[in-house]
C-alpha cells in the first residue's frame, strides 16, 4: 500500500487533468467542471489515503520517491512528506473541490470558463508539488511555476483592476523567487565545496556546516522570498490587490494555500538549514510579525471593500503564524502549523461566503449591504461562523491554534506575545463590524428593491387603506435568496471542519508535532 507513489500521482493527475480540460472542445464547460471536480475529489481521496499510510512514529520523511531529473545539476525528482507537508496536502485536497464547487456558476463575459478550471487543476498540481518536494531545486521550480496558473486566474477571471493585480502579484513573487534562486545556487555551491559533489537534497543540505556570514546571506535570500509570499508586513502590498481582484476561487487558494508556502518555507528551509542565522534574525522577524498583526488589523478595520478586508485580516493572521515559528518552541511552532491549516479553512470559508454575497449584490462594498440576515438567515449564519472562526472564538478551530501559538511563544518571547494578543481584540472588531454592517440592522443597499409587484395585489385591492399606504410609501424589501443546495454543499465541509477541529484537533496535532520537533532539533537548543 505504501509503495504506491501517492505524491507523484497527486501531482501528475491534476496536471494531466488540466491538459485534458483545456483541450476539451468549445462549449463543453459543463463537462469541464464535472471533470475538474471529479479529479479534485480523487486528489482529496489520495491525500486521505496518504495520511492513512503515514506513520506518525516513523521516519521524518515518508512516502519518498526519488528519480534523477537533471543529473548535470544534481537535481532529483525527490518527493516525500513530513507531518507539516501532509496537513497542507490535506488542506489542498479539501479546498480545491470546495473552490470548484463555489465557482460552478461563475461567468466572465467573453471568456471560456473551462480555461479557469484547467488553471485551477494545474495550480493544484503545482501546490501539491511545492509541499511534497524534498529537493530544494524542485521546490523552487514549483514555487515559481505556481505563479503562472494563478497569474492567469487573476488576470483572466478577476475584477475590474485585474490586470494591475495580476502583474503586481507576479512581479512581487518573481522578485522574491529570483532572490531565493541566488540563495539556492549558493547552497549548492556550499554543498559542492563540503560534500565534494553539489546537491539539492534537503536531507544532505541539513548536514552542512555553513559559516555564519554565508548563513546570514543565504537566510536572507530564502527569507525575503518567503516574506513576500507569506506576506509579512513591509512586503505585503500585493496581497490586498490580488485578494480583492482575484475571482473567489482564486482568492481562497491564494490566501488559503499559496501564502502558506511562505510560512511553510520558514519552517522547512530557513530554520533547519540556517539555524544560526535564524536565531540572529529572529528578533527582527518577530518585530515584523507583531507589527504586521497590529498594522494589518488596523488597516482591515478601515476597509470598505469586503474582499480587501478579508485580505488584510489574512496578513494579520500571518503575523501570528510567523510569531509562532520564530518563537522557537515546539509548542508555538506546532500551533503555527495548525494555524496554517485552520486559517485556510476559516478564511477560505469567509471568502467563499463573501463571494456568495457579492454574487447576489454585485458589489464588494460593505456599505452596499445591510440587514441581509433577515432574508437569508443561513447565509448570515455561515458568514458569522466563518467570522467567529477567523477571530478565534473558543470552540472554533482557530482558537486552538491561536492559543497554542500564544501560550507557546510566551515563555520565550513574553513581550512580543503580549503585544500580539491585542491583535485578537482588533480581530473581533473588524469581523464583527463587517458582520453588523452587512447582515444586521434595517435592510438597505443594492439588494433593496422597490417591491410593489411583490406585494400581493389581491389583498391590497380588498383593503383600500393598505393600498393607499403602499402607494404613499412603497414597500422596500431585500430581494435576496438564501443559500441554495449547491452553495450549502460547498460550505458544509468547511463548516463541519471548523467545528470538528475546534473540538477535537488531536489527530492533526499528532501529525504535526513529530515534524515540528524534528525541525526544532535541527535548530538546536530550541527550548532554551
Amino acid at each position: 500500500m505504501s509503495d504506491f507513489p501517492f505524491l507523484l500521482v497527486m501531482i501528475a493527475l491534476p496536471a494531466v487533468g488540466a491538459a485534458v480540460v483545456a483541450a476539451l472542445p468549445k462549449g463543453r464547460d459543463e463537462l469541464a467542471k464535472q471533470l475538474a471536480l471529479g479529479l479534485s475529489l480523487v486528489v482529496l481521496v489520495l491525500a486521505v489515503l496518504t495520511t492513512v499510510a503515514f506513520d506518525t512514529g516513523g521516519d521524518r520523511f515518508q512516502l519518498t520517491t526519488s528519480v534523477a531529473w537533471i543529473p548535470d545539476f544534481g537535481v532529483n525528482l525527490a518527493l516525500g512528506v513530513d507531518g507539516i507537508a501532509l496537513v497542507m496536502l490535506l488542506l489542498i485536497g479539501v479546498l480545491v473541490p470546495v473552490v470548484i464547487g463555489a465557482s460552478w456558476r461563475d461567468e466572465v463575459p467573453g471568456r471560456s470558463m473551462k480555461a479557469y478550471f484547467a488553471w485551477l487543476l494545474l495550480l493544484e498540481a503545482m501546490m501539491v508539488g511545492v509541499f511534497a518536494s524534498t529537493d530544494v531545486f524542485l521546490f523552487y521550480v514549483f514555487f515559481e511555476a505556481m505563479l503562472v496558473p494563478m497569474y492567469f486566474i487573476i488576470g483572466s477571471f478577476g475584477g475590474p483592476r485585474r490586470q494591475y493585480a495580476a502583474v503586481k502579484f507576479f512581479l512581487y513573487s518573481l522578485v522574491g523567487g529570483l532572490i531565493m534562486l541566488a540563495a539556492v545556487i549558493g547552497l549548492y555551491v556550499v554543498s559542492a565545496s563540503q560534500l565534494g559533489e553539489g546537491t539539492f537534497a534537503f536531507d544532505a543540505l541539513r548536514q552542512l556546516e555553513i559559516t555564519p556570514g554565508v548563513q546570514k546571506l543565504l537566510f536572507l535570500g530564502f527569507f525575503i522570498a518567503f516574506a513576500i509570499k507569506a506576506p509579512l508586513v513591509p512586503f505585503h502590498t500585493w496581497l490586498p490587490d490580488s485578494g480583492s481582484e482575484a475571482p473567489i476561487g482564486g482568492a481562497v487558494l491564494l490566501v488559503g494555500v499559496l501564502d502558506k508556502v511562505g510560512t511553510f518555507g520558514f519552517l522547512r528551509y530557513c530554520l533547519p538549514l540556517f539555524p544560526d542565522a535564524s536565531r540572529f534574525f529572529a528578533p527582527w522577524v518577530l518585530v515584523l510579525a507583531v507589527a504586521g498583526i497590529l498594522y494589518a488589523a488596523l488597516l482591515a478595520m478601515g476597509q470598505s471593500d469586503m474582499k480587501r478586508l478579508v485580505s488584510y485580516t489574512s496578513i494579520s493572521h500571518f503575523g501570528f503564524i510567523a510569531l509562532g515559528i520564530f518563537a522557537f518552541t515546539t509548542e508555538a511552532a506546532t500551533g503555527a502549523v495548525l494555524y496554517m491549516v485552520n486559517h485556510g479553512i476559516a478564511t477560505g470559508l469567509l471568502f467563499v461566503v463573501v463571494g456568495m454575497l457579492i454574487a447576489r449584490g454585485g458589489s464588494r462594498q460593505i456599505r452596499d449591504y445591510g440587514g441581509v440576515a433577515a432574508k437569508a438567515p443561513v447565509l448570515a449564519g455561515v458568514f458569522l461562523l466563518a467570522g467567529l472562526a477567523s477571530l478565534a472564538l473558543p470552540g472554533t478551530n482557530s482558537f486552538v491554534s491561536e492559543f497554542l501559538v500564544l501560550i507557546g511563544s510566551f515563555p520565550s518571547q513574553p513581550v512580543f506575545t503580549i503585544i500580539a494578543t491585542t491583535g485578537m481584540i482588533l480581530a473581533a472588531l473588524y469581523i464583527l463590524l463587517m458582520y453588523q454592517r452587512t447582515m444586521q440592522g434595517p435592510p438597505s443597499g443594492v439588494l433593496l428593491v422597490e417591491d410593489d409587484e411583490d406585494v400581493d395585489p389581491v389583498p391590497a385591492a380588498a383593503d383600500g387603506g393598505t393600498a393607499t399606504a403602499t402607494l404613499t410609501a412603497p414597500r422596500r424589501t431585500l430581494r435576496v435568496l438564501d443559500l441554495d443546495r449547491r452553495e450549502l454543499a460547498v460550505v458544509a465541509p468547511l463548516v463541519a471542519l471548523i467545528i470538528v477541529l475546534g473540538v477535537y484537533p488531536q489527530p492533526l496535532l499528532n501529525l504535526i508535532e513529530p515534524a515540528v520537533s524534528a525541525t526544532m532539533s535541527d535548530l538546536g537548543g530550541s527550548q532554551r
Binding site: W69, D72, V148, I179, L181, G186, Y188
Partner: protein, 512 residues
C-alpha cells in the same frame, strides 16, 4: 619547396556543406530560369544547413587542429556549429514562407528599385520572389560556423566579414516599410564597419605584442609577459569588435533599429544565429588565448555584463514595438550570457563554457520562435508589431497567443521552460566562480525584464481586442514546422534538459 597545409576534409565537412550550397546557389541564380529558382534555392540552402548539422553530429568527439593550425575542430566548436546550422535551417524555412504575405514573400523583389517609385509599387503586387537571399544567408551561416572554429585571429576576422556582409545586405531587403529597412541596413553596415576596424586594430596590436595571430601562441605569450599594455589593449579592442556583433551594451545601439527594420525572418536569423556565432568567438578567444591570464578580461566582461543587463532590461520597459522590445531583450540576454562567460572557473574547470553553450541553444530556439510568431500577426501594411495591436489576441487566435506566451515565459526564465534551465546553468557557473554579485544583478535584471514580457501576455489575454485589430495569418508549412520545433524544444529543454545538458557538458572542450 612549399609544403601545402594539411587539410582534414572530413573535419571540415560542415563548413564545406554550407559554403558549397552557397556557391551552387549563386550559380543557380545565374543559370536557372526565374520560375524554378525558388524551390531549388530553398532546397539547396536546406541541404547545406542540414548537411552541416548532420556532419557536425557525426564528427562529435573529434578533437583536432587542421588547415595549418588555422581551424580548430573540437567539442565546443562542433556544438556551436551544430546550433548555428540547426537554427540556420529553421531561419531558412522562415525565409521560404510564401502564404503569409499577400505578395508571397517578406523580401523585396528587386532591391535596386528606389522605394516608393512607380516601378516599386508595380513590383509590390507582382508574384516574383527574391531568391538571392538564400545563397546570401548560406554564406552568412558558413561565416558564422567558421567564426566559432577559427583558431587564428586572421581567420576569425575573415569569418567576421563573411558573416557580416550578407547580413548587411539582406537586412535591407524588406518588402514593406522599405525605407526603414534600408536605413537599418546602412546603419548596421556603418557601425559594423567600425566594429570590424576595432577588431582589426586589436588584431594588429596583439600581433605586435606576441608576434603571432595563432590563439595558442598568444596564450603562451600572455603567460610569459601578461602585463604587456599592448597585449591588453589589443585584447580589449578585439573584444569590443566581438561584443558589437553579440549586441552587448554599450555596443548595442544598432540592435533595436536593425531588428526593427530588417525583414522579420532576417531579424530572427540574426537574433538567433549571430548571437551564437559571436559568443562562440568570444568564448574561443577568451578561453583559448587568454584563459590562463583571466585577469586581463574578467573586469571588462564583468562590467559590460552588468551594463548590458541593465540597459536591456530597463530600456526594454519603454518599448512599444515588439521587434524593438525583443531587440532590447536580446541585449539583456547577451548580458546573461556574459555571466556564463565569467564562469570560466580556475584553470578552465568551471561549468561556464557548457552553461553558455546550452544557454545559446535555448535562447536561439526561443527567440527564433518568438520572431516566427511575429510574422503571423499582420494588418494591411505588413506585420503588426506595435504592442497595442496585440491587445486581445488570445480571443482571436488562442493557439498563437499560447505559443507566444510559452516563448515569452521562456525568455523571462520561468521554470519548466528552456529559458529557466539556461539561466540556472549560467548563474550557477557565475556563482561557482565567485561572481555572486554579478549573479544577483542578473537575477534582478531578469525580474525587471520579466515585466515587459508579462506586459505582452497581459495585452494578449487580459485586454479586450481592438476593433480594427490585426489578423492572424494561417502559416504555411515552413513556418508551421519552425513553430512546432521551437515550441517543442522550448518546453522539452525545460522539462527534460538532462540529455542536452549532458551533451553540452561533454562537448565543452576547446583545443588549440
Amino acid at each position: 619547396m612549399i609544403q601545402a597545409p594539411d587539410l582534414s576534409l572530413a573535419a571540415l565537412a560542415p563548413l564545406l556543406f554550407v559554403f558549397g550550397a552557397a556557391c551552387v546557389g549563386v550559380l543557380v541564380e545565374a543559370f536557372l530560369p526565374r520560375d524554378s529558382r525558388h524551390p531549388v534555392q530553398v532546397a539547396l540552402a536546406l541541404v547545406g544547413t542540414l548537411g552541416a548539422l548532420v556532419s557536425t553530429l557525426l564528427l562529435a568527439g573529434t578533437r583536432e587542429v587542421t588547415a595549418g593550425g588555422a581551424l580548430a575542430v573540437d567539442g565546443a566548436g562542433l556544438f556551436l556549429q551544430a546550433t548555428i546550422a540547426g537554427l540556420g535551417a529553421l531561419a531558412i524555412l522562415l525565409f521560404a514562407e510564401r502564404s503569409l504575405d499577400p505578395a508571397r514573400s517578406s523580401f523585396v523583389t528587386s532591391a535596386a528599385v528606389p522605394a516608393g517609385s512607380p516601378r516599386d509599387r508595380e513590383l509590390l503586387t507582382s508574384e516574383r520572389v527574391q531568391t538571392e537571399v538564400y545563397p546570401l544567408a548560406s554564406f552568412a551561416i558558413g561565416g558564422m560556423m567558421l567564426f566559432t572554429a577559427a583558431n587564428d585571429l586572421l581567420i576569425m576576422f575573415v569569418a567576421l566579414e563573411v558573416l557580416s556582409l550578407p547580413l548587411y545586405l539582406i537586412s535591407g531587403m524588406a518588402r514593406r516599410r522599405r525605407l526603414l529597412s534600408q536605413e537599418a541596413a546602412v546603419k548596421y553596415f556603418l557601425l559594423g564597419a567600425f566594429a570590424s576596424a576595432f577588431f582589426l586594430y586589436g588584431l594588429a596590436l596583439v600581433y605586435g605584442a606576441t608576434g603571432s595571430v595563432r590563439l595558442s601562441d598568444i596564450r603562451a605569450a600572455a603567460v610569459s609577459d601578461g602585463g604587456d599594455v599592448l597585449l591588453v589593449l589589443g585584447l580589449a579592442l578585439l573584444v569590443v569588435g566581438l561584443l558589437f556583433k553579440a549586441s552587448v551594451a554599450p555596443f548595442h545601439t544598432w540592435t533595436p533599429d536593425v531588428y526593427q527594420g530588417a525583414p522579420t525572418p532576417v531579424t530572427a536569423f540574426m537574433a538567433a544565429c549571430t548571437k551564437v556565432a559571436a559568443f562562440g568567438a568570444i568564448l574561443r578567444l577568451l578561453y583559448v588565448a587568454f584563459g590562463t591570464s583571466e585577469w586581463t578580461w574578467r573586469p571588462l566582461i564583468y562590467g559590460v555584463a552588468i551594463v548590458s543587463m541593465i540597459v536591456g532590461a530597463v530600456l526594454g520597459l519603454t518599448q512599444t514595438d515588439l521587434k524593438r522590445m525583443l531587440a532590447y531583450s536580446s541585449i539583456a540576454h547577451a548580458g546573461f550570457l556574459l555571466t556564463g562567460v565569467i564562469g570560466l572557473g580556475g584553470g578552465g574547470g568551471g561549468s561556464g563554457l557548457a552553461a553558455t553553450m546550452f544557454y545559446l541553444l535555448t535562447y536561439g530556439l526561443t527567440t527564433l520562435g518568438a520572431f516566427a510568431v511575429l510574422t503571423l500577426v499582420r494588418d494591411g501594411d505588413g506585420e503588426a508589431s506595435h504592442l497595442s495591436q496585440w491587445a486581445g489576441l488570445a480571443s482571436r487566435s488562442p493557439l498563437t497567443a499560447a505559443v507566444m506566451t510559452l516563448f515569452l515565459l521562456a525568455l523571462a526564465g520561468i521554470p519548466l521552460t528552456a529559458g529557466f534551465t539556461g539561466k540556472f546553468a549560467v548563474f550557477r557557473a557565475a556563482i561557482e566562480s565567485g561572481a555572486w554579485p554579478l549573479a544577483l544583478v542578473a537575477l534582478l535584471a531578469s525580474a525587471v525584464a520579466a515585466f515587459f514580457y508579462l506586459r505582452v501576455i497581459v495585452l494578449m489575454y487580459f485586454s479586450p481586442p481592438a476593433a480594427d485589430g490585426p489578423t492572424v495569418g494561417v502559416p504555411g508549412l515552413p513556418t508551421t514546422i519552425v513553430l512546432a520545433i521551437t515550441a517543442t524544444a522550448t518546453l522539452a529543454l525545460g522539462i527534460v534538459p538532462g540529455p542536452v545538458l549532458d551533451l553540452a557538458q561533454r562537448a565543452a572542450i576547446f583545443v588549440g
